[in-house]
Amino acid sequence: MKSSSNYQHLYVVVEHEDGMPVPVSLEMLGEARRLMDGFNKKYSSDEKVVAVVLGHNVRKLCEELIFYGADVVICVDSPELQHMRNLIDTKVISQIARSRELVAKFSNASEFIKPRYMFFAADSIGRHMSSTVLAELESGLASDINKLVISDLEIKHEHKTKGQSMKYEKTLEMYRPDFSGFLWTTILCLDNRNPANEREYHPQACSIIPGVFAQIERDTSRRGAIVEYVPKFDEKDLRVRVLDRKIVKSAVDFDSHKAVVSFGKGVKDSPEQNIKLVAELAKEIEAEVGISLPISKKPFSVSESTNSNYMIPDRVVGTSGRKVAPLLYIAVGISGAMQHIAGMKESGFIVAINPDENSPIKDECDVFIKGRMEDVIPLLLEELRKQRPTIEVKK
């Protein structure tokens, strides 16, 4: 077995738009800071949080990242890297991950081979970037992580350890909520120690769900190093050309509405009619309509217009969709999986409509209306119309 200094530091691949960091980038740095502070204390070591930035005119951003928790920022500044392109970015990030010269600029790199850990964002850019980078680095990747722990684990695995019990130090436990939102799966990236097929797998890498981890408070007294890297481009690595970029607004607009009405699997008894009821309720209070994650998998057959209007990923509230915080949130027929709660718990006043008093949503709302939506919503509509403010005084 090789010594552990072959694999050092935690690299965070930062995403930004024209130098403005995407929020998840700062969240990843925050979690990286907390993890590595604990790591260095526990193992009496001095491994770094290394932010990796690709872009053009990004010097200012690099300085900011230090205030948000990075010890080192590896900065690649080139007009060719202005917009994220999977092919060239994967090549550059992989070069960086393998560069001993870079590491030598901020720590002892004599035995360095690759990073110990690596973080990416679980969004449209990072999901694919993490996949291709880890295919290039030939190591393991877990997606959509919302909890991370570093620990020494006793592992007994059919293949990895050939059924023997073995200790794996400094292992990153990567927790991901499954599609139901009720189960947590812990993924590990482990070296093969099976004598039939010994192999080292580093970095241990994951993509991180936006909006889960807290960024650390910006601290301008924090110090760190910015290391410039000049990448080697091959003409054929630049073969994708960006012709045009347009900013678009989603047809679903949670932000400018004061209220959100979301529905979940509870519409199942008569989906078409119940979704219409929910829509009517939303219209009455000028709310945007949200859904829980399972609805986006189109579990019911409904009319084409209901399907394409409502059962779409854009409407998902939760860690797999949007985070919302309206003044009023109404959850209709939603049981309250953690992944949904995380997307709406900051709302002002929360009302749940549900026949089952044991649903987890009960612990996350201000008013729990016990009953079937078929019965409750018409009553609500009636009262809403009766009490409709004649004069609305805006705050």
């Binding site: 998840v24 392109r85 999977n86 969004d123 449209s124 996949s131 880890l134 295919a135 190591s139 393991g140 877990a142 959509d144 059919e158 293949h159 990895k160 599609f179 939102g181 009720f182 189960l183 947590w184 812990t186 590990l188 990236c189 482990l190 050309r241 960006v242 012709l243 970029r245 347009k246 900013i247 678009v248 998998k297 189109k298 057959s301 779409i312 009023l328 109404i330 049981s335 953690m338 718990k345 006043f349 929360i350 009960k362 612990d363 996350e364 729990f368 016990k370 009953g371 019965d375 409750v376 009553l379 009262e383 809403l384 009766k386 009490q387 403010p389 004649t390 004069i391 609305e392 805006k394």
Partner: protein
Amino acid sequence: MTATTTTTNDLNVAVIVKLEPDFSEGNVSYNADGTLNRAETKSILGPHSAIASNAAFYAKVKYGARVAVGTMGPPIAESALQQAQLLCDADELHLYSDRIFAGADTLATAEVLRAGISKVEGGKVDVVFSGHRASDGETGQTGPQTAWKLGYTFLGNVVDYNVDLESRLVRAKRLISLQGFYDIIEEVEAPLPVFISIDPSYKAFFNTVSQRLAFEKYQKEAKLRAENYKQFLKVLNTQQLGIDPKLVGLPGSPTIVYKVERIPKAKASRKAEVIDGANREQIARVVSNMYEALGGMVIK
């Protein structure tokens, strides 16, 4: 690995698909604790695989492309190939099946798919399509990792694409959502071969009369072919695919599932008042609270 492509005006496309649990009502079964009951749940061609198949059919209708569909899985995964054939009128169906593929993570799966696609049309596939993500695993990693291993340019979240057969260029529109930021529609151009993962919002449009006629012709053909799908089916194992067994299945997987647990219930963050949904008076009070929350005032 160097990617090769055809030099004529022909277009060869491949689709990789997956057999997944059917999450539709009546077919899906949940345990009492809200988790999926896999034993009782039926399997179908995954919804994102279906969209990828539609994108391949577009290539058939518009460019007369030859289409191959591949999947990794046990023999039962044939049914995913059959369902995909019905959607895209596939000329070939490939099932990559071997006991040693079991337990694969995304990297080990990508190795099998890489080898599989290299076998199609003598390795001369111009465009490979995959779905956005599987509805059970949900990683979205297998497509891009297969692309990388093939040495193909990867284009993700593609909502629209066209191929220029003369210049061998693809033009595609990609939908990029950055959480907490705006969305971006990006138009890109790349030389063949490319690997496209199709965005869930993709829809094919056929504008001209000749395209509509071709659409109907191939749709009829697809129905006939899918009824006799076994005639189009090839089953390939490790040896036939020429794969190093150390790179697939458990041996080729860097990651393992260490444990699965129920997500612990968070401490109640709010103290709910429970209202009887049939009690008009109580409902009236809730409505008044709702208006208050919205910042309005009721003037009587």
